[in-house]
């Protein structure tokens, strides 16, 4: 990108990018969310330090246009938006006033894919892994649980948010479009999915709790059903129940979930009163 196109010869510094990070950290993307422009107000808020620097000597119309441009529809994911902000800052800096439509196009092109990565990697997988590790400790009353969860989740989250801004700015467009980087992204998603599913398997065994209380009388000897099941396979029931619920949840619309939870509470209580589970 040539030196000639630079806005006013102003150069964005690490200090400006730090300000962008703090605005994203403090105001997030959700505070000003609305149906018309989604998270655009929040995006513009985080980008403001960059705009202020680049447009400080420009006439009012240009500043108004810059604000309007970034108040257009934007919808992505909190953590991943760091990188979009960094890249947007780089493009804002290196385009002339006539080339600004490109900024909107690039933002629109990135927000979808990065939201997908953000949702699947941060919101679900890393949050779930951190939550599972924490819950495993906390279920036994160990206060280390929430502390571990907080540290694991936020260390990853904040590092990616911050370095997304810095790297996004430094590497600019190159980062997203080059084949090598797309592969790195794919590897990260695959890696976290695999770890997520393995941990899920362990969690089924460690956190779902059910014990059968029924005892059968066979040939005048009392047979404890739970001992029979344990002999076949430890934690067989938690596995069967979870896999069964998985089949149900694949079909069941999420808004009926609460009935599933209430139903299980009622069913469990009845089975307990009948002595089937203890």
């Amino acid at each position: 990108m040539s030196e000639i196109n630079r806005m006013n010869g102003e150069k964005i510094t690490r200090k400006d990018l730090n300000k962008v990070y703090w605005r994203l950290q403090i105001f997030g993307l959700g505070l000003a969310i609305n149906s018309t422009t989604a998270q655009a107000i929040s995006f513009a808020t985080a980008l403001t330090p960059v705009l202020k620097k680049l447009y400080k000597n420009e006439p009012k119309e240009v500043r108004v246009a810059a604000m309007q441009r970034h108040l257009e529809y934007f919808l992505s994911q909190n953590t991943a938006t760091g990188m979009i902000l960094g890249i947007t800052a780089a493009i804002e800096e290196t385009t002339s006033v006539e080339q600004k439509e490109g900024v909107v196009a690039v933002k629109a092109g990135m927000m979808g894919p990065l939201a997908g990565i953000g949702d699947s990697v941060f919101k679900l997988t890393i949050q779930a892994i951190a939550g599972s590790i924490g819950a495993a400790y906390a279920l036994n009353g160990n206060a280390l649980g929430p502390v571990l969860m907080f540290v694991i989740y936020n260390a990853i989250n904040i590092a990616i948010k911050y370095y997304g801004i810095i790297l996004g700015y430094e590497k600019g467009m190159e980062f997203i479009t080059s084949g090598e980087q797309a592969k790195v992204m794919k590897n990260i998603i695959n890696l976290s999915t695999m770890v997520g599913v393995v941990v899920l398997g362990a969690l089924i065994s460690s956190s779902v709790r059910i014990t059968i209380g029924t005892e059968l009388v066979v040939n005048e000897t009392i047979v404890n059903v739970q001992q029979l099941l344990d002999g076949a396979m430890p934690k067989l029931l938690p596995l069967l129940i979870t896999v069964g619920l998985y089949q149900v949840n694949k079909k069941l619309p999420r808004k009926y979930l609460i009935f599933l939870i209430l139903g299980l509470l009622v069913l469990g209580t009845i089975l307990f009163l009948l002595g089937v589970i203890k």
Binding site: L71, K123, L124, S132, F150, G201, S206, L264, L265
Partner: protein, 266 residues
């Protein structure tokens, strides 16, 4: 419960509410609940209820416009009542999980009202843009942060301060065996959260990974942190192998159009 304690808990609910849309550092039952335990002087119960709710609501998050049951107020009120009404720990935990579920649905409706108020932000921002003053849109964020604080501060305070005695009376009128049954039933609930998570992250052909984790814990009694680390090691190894295979395939394709073999495209 004292007015002071109720206010402290409600303030925490308000802060978590702001965090949920802003910094997003807490927003999960296990991170929101324990502080309530510290305020009320029973950290152990708070930890157990929070962990149960964390697992129960594991796959849930506000995605794709769907408003989930309100985990923040649900957790805070659930932990509070688990501690204040629990005659024995197990019954208290059952009470906590049950109230958390009910309150979460109630406050979910409340949040929908706030969604309506937010629709005025877009025209407001358009007006501020015409001033050409970049920092003027900070006003919207600050106004929203205050509203965001209030929408959970107010209901939490009302439920905890005024609803406490009502909840205690209801709890006292429920026969003990039913409470004990509820406590046992809530032991199954983590299966709900885990199964939802499965529908989201399990891709075709990944049952082997699930069974691997299950066996590590069920047969070998490895704890979750150990399972995470060992699976991380295996996943790194797997990814590395796949990259090598990919690389060799591209090499052979370049020479003789070799048949492409690959691993799972997860």
């Amino acid at each position: 419960m004292s007015l002071f304690q109720s206010l402290l808990i409600a303030l925490w609910a308000g802060y978590c509410s702001y965090d949920d849309q802003g910094p997003q550092m807490l927003r999960r039952p296990l991170l929101v609940g324990p502080l309530v335990g510290l305020i009320l002087g029973d950290l152990t119960t708070a930890l157990i209820v929070s962990a149960t709710l964390e697992l129960m609501w594991m796959g849930l998050g506000n995605m794709a416009g769907y408003q989930t049951p309100d985990m923040i107020v649900g957790t805070i009120v659930g932990v509070t009542f688990a501690i204040t009404t629990g005659q024995t720990s197990a019954e208290g935990i059952a009470a906590g999980v049950a109230t958390a579920t009910a309150v979460a649905i109630l406050v979910q409706q409340f949040n929908l009202i706030f969604m309506f108020v937010r629709q005025f932000f877009a025209p407001w921002a358009d007006k501020l843009a015409l001033t050409g003053n970049f920092d003027s849109i900070l006003k919207i964020n600050i106004a929203s942060a205050i509203l965001q604080f209030l929408i959970r501060f107010v209901p939490t305070f009302l439920i905890i301060y005024f609803g406490g005695s009502a909840v205690e009376q209801v709890m006292a009128s429920i026969p003990a065996p039913i409470l004990a049954g509820l406590a046992k039933a809530s032991g199954i609930l983590p299966a709900v959260g885990l199964s939802i998570l499965m529908t989201i992250i399990m891709k075709k052909g990944m049952w082997g990974f699930l069974i691997f984790g299950f066996v590590l814990n069920a047969y070998l009694n490895m704890d979750i942190l150990g399972v995470t680390l060992i699976s991380l090691a295996f996943a790194t190894f797997y990814t590395w192998i796949m990259n090598v295979i990919d690389f060799q395939n591209t090499q052979s394709q370049n020479t003789n159009n070799g048949v492409k073999e690959g691993g799972y495209d997860l």
